[in-house]
Amino acid sequence: MGVILDALRNAFGLIVTLDPDMLAIVWLSLQVSLSAVALGTLLGLPLGAAIAVGRFPGRRASIVVLNALMGLPPVVVGLIVYLLLSRAGPLGELGLLFTPTAMVIAQTILIMPIIAALGRQAVEDAWREYREQLRSLGVSRLAAALTLIWDIRFSLLTAVLAGLGRACAEVGAVMIVGGNIAGVTRVMTTTIALETSKGDLPLALSLGIVLVTIVLILNAGAYSVKEVAQRRYG
C-alpha cells in the first residue's frame, strides 16, 4: 500500500511541477492522436455519408465490413503499417518507420473505420427523415450527403470522440510503428507500458492520470457544445 501511495504522491508531484519530460510525452501524444482524428474525420465522415445515402452494388457488404473494421486490433494495424513502411516494404523508401508520422498513419487506419461506421449510421437515420424534403427541393445525392453531415454535425461529434478515445487509449499500433524511442516516438500509453514493466510507477501513474483527465475534459467539452447546439437549433 505504501508503495502505491508513494507513487501517487510522486505522480502528483510530476504533474504539479509540470515535469518537462512528462510534458513532452503528453504533447507528442496529443499531436499524434489529434492528427489521426483530424485525418480520420476528413476521410471517414464523407465515406460514411456516401455509404449512407448512396445506392451501389455491394452497399450492404461494405456496411458489414466497415462495422467489422471498428474492432480492428491495434497490434494488427501496427503490424501491417510496419510491413508497409519497413525498409523492405513497398513504402520503405520514405523512411517513415519509427517516426511520429508512422504513428499518425497507423492510428488513422485504426480510427477511420470507427468514425465512418458511426457516422454512416447517424447520417442514414437523418437521411430517412430528410430524404423526401431534399429530393423535393431537387438536391442531388452528393449535395444531400454534405448537407446532412453539416446538419447533424453535433451528433457526429460522438463518432469523432469515439475515434479520439480509441486513438488516445491504444498502445499496440504506436508501439510497433513508433518503436517507443525516448524523446522521439514515446507517447503516454507506450510510456506507461514501459515504465510499469521497469517498475517506475510514478511516471506511469502521472501519465495515466493526465491521460484520463484529458479524455474527460475533451468529452465534457464536446458534451456541452452539443447541449448548447441542441438548445439553439433543436
Binding site: 427523415e129 430528410y130 423526401e132 424534403q133 429530393r135 423535393s136 427541393l137 431537387g138 438536391v139 442531388s140 449535395a143 448537407t147 446538419d151 447533424i152 453535433f154 447546439a229 438548445r231 439553439r232 437549433y233 433543436g234
Partner: protein, 242 residues
C-alpha cells in the same frame, strides 16, 4: 428566371402504384390544368399522398405514365414544390432554411437573403428569421415550410395536409398564405381531410377511394350534388375514417 414554357398541364395516364402486392393507386387518369385550386379528398388509405408523391416525382408509378407539358430535366432547377404534412427543417435559422432552398435552386447568393426575407414576411415570420427553425412551434414551422416553397416561385405547389396537426388559428394563417400564393399565379394542389377547408380553398375536387379516382367536379357541385354514391357516403361521414 421563369422558363418560357409552362409545366402544366400535368397528364396522368392509367397511373398505378403497387407496394408489394397491395395496389395503392389504381389506374388513375387525369389532367391538371393551370389555374383552379385542386383539392384532393378521400378517406385514409385512399392513396392521396402516394398520388401526390407520384405527381411530384418522389415515387415512380409501377404502371402508366405521368407527363408534364414541359418535362423537368434532372439537374435543372425544380419548378414545382411540395409542403409535407410534417415539415422537415434543417438545423439552422428560419432564414437560412429558406436561403438553402434558394441556393439549391441556383439563385445567385446576393439575391438569396432579400428573397428569403420577403418570403418570411409574406407568412408573418419576419420576427423569427434568426431563430433556429427546429425550435419553432408546429404552426410556425408549417408557415416556414410554405415560405420556403413560396420563395422558389414554383409553378405548381403540392400540399399534403399542411394543416393536419395545427390548431384553428394556425390553420387559418396557413390558409391565408395558400390564398396569397394562389393569387400570385401558382397552381395549388392540396390534400385535406377537412371538408370545410376544401370548401373554402377549393375550386375543384378530386375524390379518391381505394386508390381509384371516383369523382372529379367543381367544388360547388361536389358538395351539393355529388355524382356517385361513394362520394355521398363520404360526405355524410359514412365511409370508415380508420
Amino acid at each position: 428566371m421563369r422558363a418560357p414554357t409552362s409545366l402544366l398541364p400535368l397528364r396522368l395516364v392509367d397511373v398505378s402504384f403497387d407496394a408489394g402486392t397491395k395496389r395503392i393507386v389504381d389506374r388513375v387518369s387525369l389532367v391538371l390544368e393551370a389555374g383552379p385550386r385542386t383539392m384532393i379528398l378521400g378517406p385514409n388509405g385512399a392513396g392521396k399522398s402516394v398520388l401526390m408523391r407520384l405527381c411530384h416525382g418522389l415515387l415512380r408509378p409501377t404502371a402508366g405514365h405521368i407527363e408534364w407539358a414541359t418535362p423537368e430535366r434532372s439537374g435543372e432547377r425544380r419548378r414545382q414544390a411540395m409542403v409535407f404534412q410534417r415539415p422537415v427543417m434543417l438545423r439552422r435559422s428560419a432564414l437560412a432554411n429558406v436561403e438553402y432552398a434558394l441556393k439549391v435552386a441556383g439563385v445567385p447568393w446576393d439575391e438569396r437573403e432579400p428573397r428569403a426575407r420577403n418570403a418570411l414576411e409574406s407568412v408573418g415570420l419576419s420576427d423569427l428569421a434568426n431563430r433556429g427553425a427546429r425550435v419553432l412551434s408546429g404552426g410556425e414551422q408549417q408557415r416556414l415550410a410554405l415560405a420556403r416553397a413560396w420563395a422558389l416561385r414554383p409553378e405548381v405547389l403540392f400540399l399534403d395536409e399542411p394543416t393536419a396537426s395545427l390548431d384553428p388559428g394556425a390553420s387559418a394563417e396557413v390558409e391565408r398564405t395558400i390564398e396569397t400564393i394562389h393569387a400570385a399565379g401558382t397552381k395549388i394542389v392540396m390534400i385535406t381531410h377537412n371538408l370545410g377547408q376544401a370548401r373554402r380553398l377549393g375550386d375543384e375536387i378530386l375524390f379518391l377511394n381505394e386508390g381509384r379516382l371516383v369523382e372529379r367536379a367543381p367544388a360547388d357541385r361536389f358538395f351539393n350534388r355529388p355524382a356517385s354514391a361513394e362520394t355521398e357516403a363520404f360526405l355524410k361521414g359514412e365511409l370508415p375514417w380508420t
